[in-house]
Symmetry: C2
Subunit: 160 residues, 2 copies
């Protein structure tokens, strides 16, 4: 899967400002490591990065930060809802800016293929969960695991 976000590979100042504002609003201090992490995430506002990848990019383009700081900071940002962790299959989780995206992901466990589905198609289920259980589904960007069409078909052949 390749999910490319910002085609220019550059962060928009507006997005970064909005992020900084959220950090302050949550009562957190705006430090250098946090700026660096947010900058990387802002450039990839549609992407999914592992902690290692984030560390790598920060190292490439300036003053590296300590891994432990990255792990802790990412947890903190997740706690205030700015980002969240997505587990696409097993393998290390990937961080992602929390934005109300208009699509969800169907991830094939066999070939890894990712299919995008308009959130509208799933919204009814979210609404239902809210009505019946008072449950607010969050970061509507979660992965549904299963087998894609192609892999489902080859499976049937195998069983034949």
């Amino acid at each position: 899967m390749t999910i490319v976000g910002n085609p220019m590979g550059q962060s928009t100042p507006e997005l970064e400002d909005a992020i900084h504002e959220k950090i302050r609003a949550a009562g957190l201090r705006l430090t250098m490591p946090r700026r660096a992490i947010c900058a990387v995430l802002a450039v990839n506002d549609e992407g999914f990065l592992t902690t290692q990848e984030i560390l790598g990019r920060i190292g490439e383009q300036g003053v590296p930060i300590d891994p432990s700081t990255a792990y802790r900071t990412l947890d903190d940002l997740a706690k205030i809802g700015l980002i969240h962790l997505v587990h696409l299959g097993s393998s290390p989780g990937r961080w992602h800016l929390t934005v109300e995206h208009d699509h969800q992901h169907l991830v094939c466990e066999i070939c890894g293929k990712t299919t995008l589905v308009p959130t509208a198609e799933i919204q009814p289920m979210f609404d239902q969960l809210r009505e019946r259980y008072g449950f607010q589904t969050r970061h509507h960007h979660f992965a549904i695991m299963g087998h894609c069409e192609t892999c489902s078909e080859s499976e049937e052949h195998d069983h034949a």
Copy 2:
């Protein structure tokens, strides 16, 4: 959350036999470490165990196995669909026997509370994904993250 499976804390021979059969059917060898792991999972056929917990239980009740073996074996068992990994929030994933359970999980990101929802309520969505995308949702036991009723309400108060 406390999910207790087999009330006797004992594995049923039938379940273990069925598991062994699946392992053989997949072309994998039935070795001692694999038996041990399956035994632990079979006792907790409704439970969710981390790799560490599995290692711990095996160590308690007999010959311990090497951690690396456990990690690899669990991956292998997941590959053949016998078990799967569930990420309830962040924190290490938990392994779980793949059975067609009749419920799903709504996990609150704030208080950790888990609500069970009959699969029947979500089945329509799965059916729809299959019709439109040919996507077969697997191990119908996945976690939907969000905020539970109680936490949603306190959030509103905070904003007031």
